[in-house]
Symmetry: C2
Subunit: 265 residues, 2 copies
């Protein structure tokens, strides 16, 4: 629970190294110092827009606390969430782009922003940072393609099961290695509506799928955002991804991890 730091607060540096995926992890101390001076810490309330979909995006940033969502939308309001952003994740888009996603606070959030042009200059001057960014973007691309498979091929039931399993796996990460039969607690980090927008369906359908799983004894509902997985294998079958061996499952978790699908403890 970091407070909004002052500019000379070392939080920025901590942030940038919090996670192997962060592009700043490779920066040497002098560079970190510089990065720290470039950043501006801002706080947002749930629902606040950080970067709007249409506008020219002049900032990039790192999530310090809270959850952000990236979304694209159609004129009539239909919205697709294309990623959730958790602490240490970068948001915004460096270098000229024709795209544009909405970046919005999904909860109260503290972020650390940079002038986009300045950050680009930093990347160009530091190839090892840009390399790190490339690796991160490649992972994001893998994740997006996996999501295309989910959106294009899986039923709502399968999507929800997949979603829960990934969250569960992440939650069991700190448990004993063989978690195959261990009931896991799952905490969904977003509302039903956002979950629906992420899975390409409606809140009603998600509700039905979840309560069907509960009736079938696959899960137990603790509260609307918290579940216990009772029959792991049954849920795996319901996800349509039973073919995945352990290793592949780990891949999937990593992939979704990249998309910010995992709960933040």
């Amino acid at each position: 629970m970091p407070r909004a730091p002052t500019l000379d607060n070392p939080l920025t540096n901590l942030l940038c190294t919090a996670n192997g995926r962060s592009v700043c992890a490779v920066a040497d101390p002098a560079l970190r110092e510089k990065i720290g001076r470039m950043c501006r810490v801002r706080k947002f309330k749930a629902g606040d827009t950080i970067i709007s979909e249409g506008k020219e995006r002049s900032i990039v940033g790192v999530v310090s606390s809270g959850v952000l969502k990236m979304a694209k939308s159609m004129a009539d309001g239909r919205q697709q969430i294309v990623g959730l952003l958790l602490p240490s994740d970068m948001f915004g888009r460096v270098f000229p782009s024709d795209g544009g996603v909405l970046v919005e606070a999904a909860s109260e959030a503290v972020v650390c922003t940079f002038d986009r042009a300045a950050f680009e200059a930093l990347l160009l001057a530091n190839p090892q940072m840009e390399h790190k960014l490339l690796l991160s973007v490649l992972d994001e691309l893998d994740a997006a393609r996996d999501w295309m498979l989910l959106l294009g091929c899986q039923t709502v039931r399968e999507r929800v099961a997949t979603f829960l399993l990934v969250l569960a796996r992440r939650g069991a990460e700190r448990s004993v290695p063989n978690t195959a039969c261990i009931a896991a607690r799952v905490r969904v980090p977003v509302s039903r509506k956002d979950m629906a927008a992420y899975l390409g369906t409606t809140p009603e359908s998600i509700s039905r799928a979840i309560h069907k799983f509960a009736r079938d004894g696959l899960i137990r509902i603790i509260d609307p955002l918290c579940f216990e997985i009772v029959q792991r294998h049954g849920l795996v079958r319901a996800s349509g991804r039973e073919e995945l061996h352990a290793v592949d499952e780990d891949r999937l978790v990593q992939r979704m991890n990249v998309m910010g699908l995992v709960t933040v403890k």
Copy 2:
């Protein structure tokens, strides 16, 4: 219609500079020479697998002629095409990855392959090449997210209309600037089945959508893979993307261009 070139054939260099998106465009002559010596030209028949989904991928490559498709699939055979690759497009995945897409020839195709590790070394030694690759991957990511919007939010009818419009716009590229009311020929570069796998639907539904457009006078069917757009605006409305101004439409075209959605003349 290039023949399979010998190793000293300059085709490789031509390929790598064919398009601003190519990562080799920034290479100086000496480097190009080296790249040319690294590459191996291979020819595939339609349906041939170039990189399989599960295996460790040891090559990357550039399309010389023909069309490749990238796809992900589920155990029961459901398949989602995540991108089409046209001449000058790169395929394969550099640097460690947990993902994996099938890369398959969608038509007879000539490709130019590189040892993955060697290509990675090249990138690491040439930051400006890696920068170019980053820009390209960022565009692919934008494209993938746009496709997530299409798969998650649009109806089949809208998807098909969107698809046709992008192809049409590309086809009209060489016409007079104001193409708003000009009937354009559209050539779809893949079969109905692949089109369906790309749009997250079935061949039957695509057929119905197309013939409904024809009945409504929006398009004229020349042959199963070739159409004439009669009422451009009507088709735009049907795509659900009418809100897009010209500039946004151009964005969309670019985005899909990146995904290999455009016909190759």
